[in-house]
């Protein structure tokens, strides 16, 4: 039998439908692979094999009864940011301790409704604050990829590093992830996987541990564009429990795979050609343009003049929202509690001991920019710059239907390399953060490898709620790219 863990989500669902194998067989193959590989990669912070097998048996019964759902029997991983009823959820933080949610996130409940099987919870940067997975209280995820001829451990990116590494190393068919400034797309780019951050409001945030509520969105990380379409179709949908959830019908995104992109107008923003961009990334970007031109798209230059201000604006807005959201971790009702005699002492030791350095740094920045005397100068100014960035996109989308950019300014870097320089780490998100600020969908797909054999991604940005065009364009580019590289040590 072929190695079941190497299948795409689509091929696995076909195999299940054809009775080539059962969900129990498929799930068992993943459980065995996780046992063998996870100790080296640290992608899962919690595995739930018994629960997975029980769900797989139930799925096989549904399939036998002819009541299988769209994802029935497919084993997936869940970023540890999504609350899972009865299964420990930590958001990569010590402060959540052994928190066992008494409720299920809406996104995961949709996946279980459609028959998916949970293999376990995936590692992440603490509260999704990081771009290398090094801020996790469980230690960093190690990328399954290595530079050619090197044994140095690389980052899988972050914050959804566990999700990206697990999909890339065949530790699940697909994974949930979340993206506040690039946390789906940057790790997808670093690991040769596909990731989409949908339009703000498409996926419910209920039961997702909050970082920056006006920016956070859930999305999938998968092996193919078609798999991402399947996962997003299931994850999305209106939810009265999230007041920012959009009350609109969700299309079956799979219908856009293979759809012609002839005549679509593609914007190429010159502002994304930043100083010091590696030649290989610039070349790959040009190749991406050529693939779309060959498919009948019209290529146009567009201006997004406020691009360079997106990251500094983000580093006011996101910490400001985080400082408010994370005020709930006071050691009283759930999670870790520090020692102390009076109430305030306990708050202060709980938070000093429970949060890691990057999270504390961001809470302090957020508290500072919201404090009396600085609110107008920093926070309000950043919200106005955010409006300028959204305006840039609105103008560009008068002339084009989608925008093509690189996903990241570099390939994956070694663990430890940027840990001591916060601003250098933040610059990882320079191409992705703009869509979070504007609320637009962004998709990263693997487009090629650099001279060291490491994956590089390209990003498509679309109009609000036009995920369909992104899937059609990405599927076209995926075919043209013919990306077949695999992480060698784990191949």
């Amino acid at each position: 039998m072929t190695d079941l863990t190497r299948l795409t989500l689509g091929a696995a669902l076909d195999g299940l439908a054809n009775k080539d194998f059962s969900s129990v067989e498929l799930t068992s193959a993943f459980i065995a692979r996780i046992e063998a590989v996870n100790p080296q990669l640290n992608a899962y912070v919690l595995t739930t094999p018994e629960r997975a097998l029980e769900a797989a048996r139930a799925s096989d019964a549904r399939r036998a009864a002819g009541t299988a759902g769209p994802l029935d029997g497919a084993p997936i991983g869940v970023k540890d940011l999504f609350c899972t009823e009865g299964v420990r959820t930590t958001a990569g933080s010590k402060i959540l301790g052994n928190f066992v949610p008494p409720y299920e996130s809406t996104v995961t409940s949709h996946l279980w409704r459609d028959g998916a099987v949970m293999l376990g919870k995936l590692n992440m940067d603490e509260f999704a604050m990081g771009s290398s997975n090094e801020t996790s209280a469980f230690g960093p995820v190690v990328s399954p990829w290595r530079a050619r001829g090197s044994n140095r451990s690389l980052t899988p990116g972050g914050s959804s590093g566990g999700s990206a590494a697990a999909v890339s190393a065949d530790l699940c068919l697909a994974a949930t992830a979340s993206d506040t400034g690039g946390s789906i797309r940057q790790p997808a780019s670093f690991t040769g996987t596909v990731g989409i951050k949908p339009t703000y409001g498409l996926c419910s945030r209920f039961g997702m541990v909050a970082f920056a509520s006006s920016l956070d969105q859930a999305g999938p990380i998968t092996r193919t564009v078609a798999d991402a379409a399947r996962m997003l179709t299931s994850m999305a949908g209106h939810d009265p429990k999230d007041s920012t959830s959009l009350d609109l019908p969700v299309p079956d995104f799979s219908q856009f795979i293979g759809k012609s992109v002839k005549g679509l107008r593609i914007g190429v923003p010159e502002e994304y050609r930043i100083d010091g961009m590696p030649e290989e990334i610039a070349r790959l970007w040009d190749e991406g343009v050529a693939w779309l031109r060959a498919a009948g798209c019209e290529i146009k230059s567009v201006r997004l003049p406020h691009t360079k201000y997106a990251l500094p604006a983000y580093y006011i807005i996101a910490p400001a929202e985080a400082s408010s959201n994370l005020a709930r971790y006071d050691g009283m009702r759930f999670g870790y509690r520090g020692e102390g005699t009076a109430l305030t002492d306990v708050y202060e030791t709980t938070r000093a001991e429970g949060f890691g350095p990057e999270v504390k740094r961001r809470i302090l920045i957020g508290t500072y920019v919201l404090s009396a005397g600085y609110y107008d100068a920093y926070y309000l100014k950043a919200l106005k710059v955010r409006a300028r960035i959204a305006e840039d996109f609105a103008k560009a989308f008068e002339e084009v239907d989608a925008i093509l950019t690189p996903t990241t300014p570099s390939a994956a870097f070694p663990l430890g390399e940027k840990q001591d320089d916060p601003v250098a780490m933040y610059l990882n998100d320079v191409f992705t953060v703009t869509t979070n600020l504007a609320g637009l969908p962004g998709l990263s797909l693997p487009a090629g490898v650099d001279s060291q054999g490491l994956p590089l991604g390209l990003q498509l940005i679309g109009r609000a709620l036009d995920e369909g065009s992104l899937f059609a364009l990405a599927a076209t580019m995926e075919q043209a790219a013919g990306f077949t590289a695999r992480p060698e040590p784990w191949g």
Binding site: T199, L215, Y336, L383, R388
Partner: protein, 95 residues
């Protein structure tokens, strides 16, 4: 507007994070590094621009003001660091 040690002490207090005295100076330096990079926002002309407070322009939905959930005290207390007889147990608040 450089951040000094006194400002870090005040902000840490507001954020309810105990920072030992010897961490304040290095933290001030870190925060200044980040804020200096953020200062470039001053270059953007935002005259007459309304602050963007939500990613998607839509009015918040209304719902009936009715009880839809409850009676789950045990589940609510299930993750409490300390609980007793249906209550959260917290440190002494009033002397």
């Amino acid at each position: 507007m450089a951040i000094d040690v006194a400002t870090v002490r005040k902000v840490a207090k507001l954020a309810r994070i105990a920072e030992p005295e010897d961490r304040l100076a290095p933290l001030a330096q870190e925060l200044n590094g980040i804020m200096a990079w953020i200062e470039q926002l001053a270059e953007v002309d935002t005259t007459g621009v309304e602050p963007m407070t939500s990613a998607v322009a839509q009015t918040l939905p209304m719902r009936d003001d009715v009880v839809t959930d409850g009676g789950n005290a045990a589940r609510v207390l299930g993750n409490a660091p300390r609980a007793d007889q249906g209550f959260f147990v917290v440190p002494k608040v009033v002397e």
